[in-house]
């Protein structure tokens, strides 16, 4: 019994020893997921619960007809590696938009998702 318990303790210790980063999932966003906003936002920001790789992480915003309205593929904030953001046009017409994000966490794990927001 001691051997088995010891083996599992050893396993946990070995597993926890190296630096760990884990899968990255959204923690918060601006606009909020599913929000309806009166004024068009100037940018979309998504904060993740772990650091993400700038080169391989993307954030794009598309309108209801599937046309990309954001510029570029989004950028990871140089001073805050949990923040992925993209600017939006100054004149964003009323309608429903979808934010598509795809990120690689620092340990190489990929996660992706999308969420809507609406401009009145």
């Amino acid at each position: 019994m001691r051997t088995l318990v010891g083996s599992f303790i050893l396993l946990i210790a070995l597993a926890a020893t190296p630096a760990a980063w884990a899968h990255a999932f959204p923690d918060n966003s601006s606009p909020h997921v599913g929000a309806t906003v009166a004024m068009a936002p100037k940018e979309v920001k998504v904060w993740f619960d772990g650091e993400i790789e700038p080169v391989f992480s993307t954030l794009v915003v598309k309108n209801a007809s599937g046309k990309q309205v954001s510029t570029g593929k989004g950028t990871v904030d140089a001073n805050n590696h949990v923040l992925l953001e993209t600017p939006l046009p100054a004149t964003l017409p009323a309608g429903t938009y979808t934010v598509y994000w795809s990120v690689i966490a620092r340990d190489g794990h990929h996660t992706e998702g999308h969420f809507p927001f609406t401009v009145k």
Binding site: M1, S7, F8, L14, F25, V33, G34, H114, F115
Partner: protein, 295 residues
């Protein structure tokens, strides 16, 4: 079958663990299909390829007997779509005017293949085969027969449905059989399923509801671990539990708690409770144990 003394295959667990640590290559684990993460359920396997170390404790007081079970297993990905598992339980029974018994249950090995994964439809499925080895546990609690257990595991998210309030919902399940090599022991059909409502999915992909920590990482769920006897004098008799509870999902581990409510008197007459910790070894150790051996 209960016996007073204990004898374990002390060399087996460390040997398996040592073998599992040999070599490494990149990739992931977790049961993820698209933007859907299926947590590890407490009473049956999730449909993903694992790199995990779950510990599940259950307590049941029935007919004056306290039954405790500490289940533990470790899963190592061999390739991105194939993993192997080593598992056992520490069992204890006290009360009821009977001698107290405790000890290790038989040792089990398993293999899991990811047979389909569709991110767009949040669909995932795996085929699993487990072997429990006779005479590898303590004499006090072990069974004196070996068992093959083939099983199909599946998960389906409802993220594509029109009604937005239903999108955080997911269904997982497993259907399989226990095939013992003792002709006197009945074969069993195992059919398990769960309904899960993911608060993280709701807030990350559907609509931010203002739910704060720690509730924003929780998935309320209800599990139905069921078993139907196939032969040997108990043909057609079904036992099982309704297990409502919640699972909290963190960076490196999840924990969960569930009640165990018997579905009929054949199963039992008392409500039990389960606690589980599941360590995500692919996140805790992404460059060694958590990696598949072969990419």
């Amino acid at each position: 079958m209960l016996h007073p003394s204990t004898r374990t295959f002390w060399w087996l667990p460390p040997t398996v663990i040592a073998l599992l640590f040999l070599g490494a290559a990149p990739a992931s684990a977790h049961a993820i299909a698209g933007q859907r993460l299926f947590p590890s359920t407490l009473t049956f396997d999730d449909p993903g390829i694992g790199a995990e170390l779950p510990l599940v404790f259950s307590h049941l007081h029935d007919d004056g007997i306290d039954q405790n079970d500490l289940g533990m297993s470790v899963t190592k990905p061999i390739t991105p779509s194939f993993s192997m598992t080593a598992a056992t339980d520490y069992l204890g029974m006290t009360g009821g005017g009977l001698p107290n018994v405790h000890g290790w249950d038989n040792f089990a090995l398993g293999a899991v293949w990811q047979v389909y994964l569709n991110p767009a439809t949040e669909s995932i499925g795996s085929f699993e085969i487990d072997r429990t080895f006779a005479h590898t546990g303590s004499r006090a609690v072990r069974s004196d027969y070996s068992t093959w257990s083939p099983q199909f595991n599946f998960g389906q998210g409802l993220g594509m449905v029109h009604a937005s309030w239903l999108r955080p919902l997911a269904i997982t399940g497993a259907i399989g059989a226990d095939l013992p090599n003792d002709p006197q022991v009945p074969r069993m059909l195992n059919w398990d399923f769960s309904l899960q409502y993911s608060i993280p999915y709701l807030q990350d992909f559907v609509k931010y509801a203002g739910v704060k920590a720690p509730f924003n990482k929780m998935t309320p769920l209800i599990e139905f671990p069921m078993q139907t006897c196939l032969d040997r004098g108990c043909h057609g008799q079904t036992t099982g539990y309704i297990a409502p509870g919640v699972i909290w999902i963190g960076h490196y581990f999840q924990w969960g708690v569930e009640l165990q409510v018997p579905v009929n008197h054949r199963t039992g007459n008392s409500v039990g409770i389960m606690f589980a910790f599941d360590f995500y070894l692919d996140d805790l150790s992404p460059h060694s144990f958590g990696k598949p051996l072969f990419d």
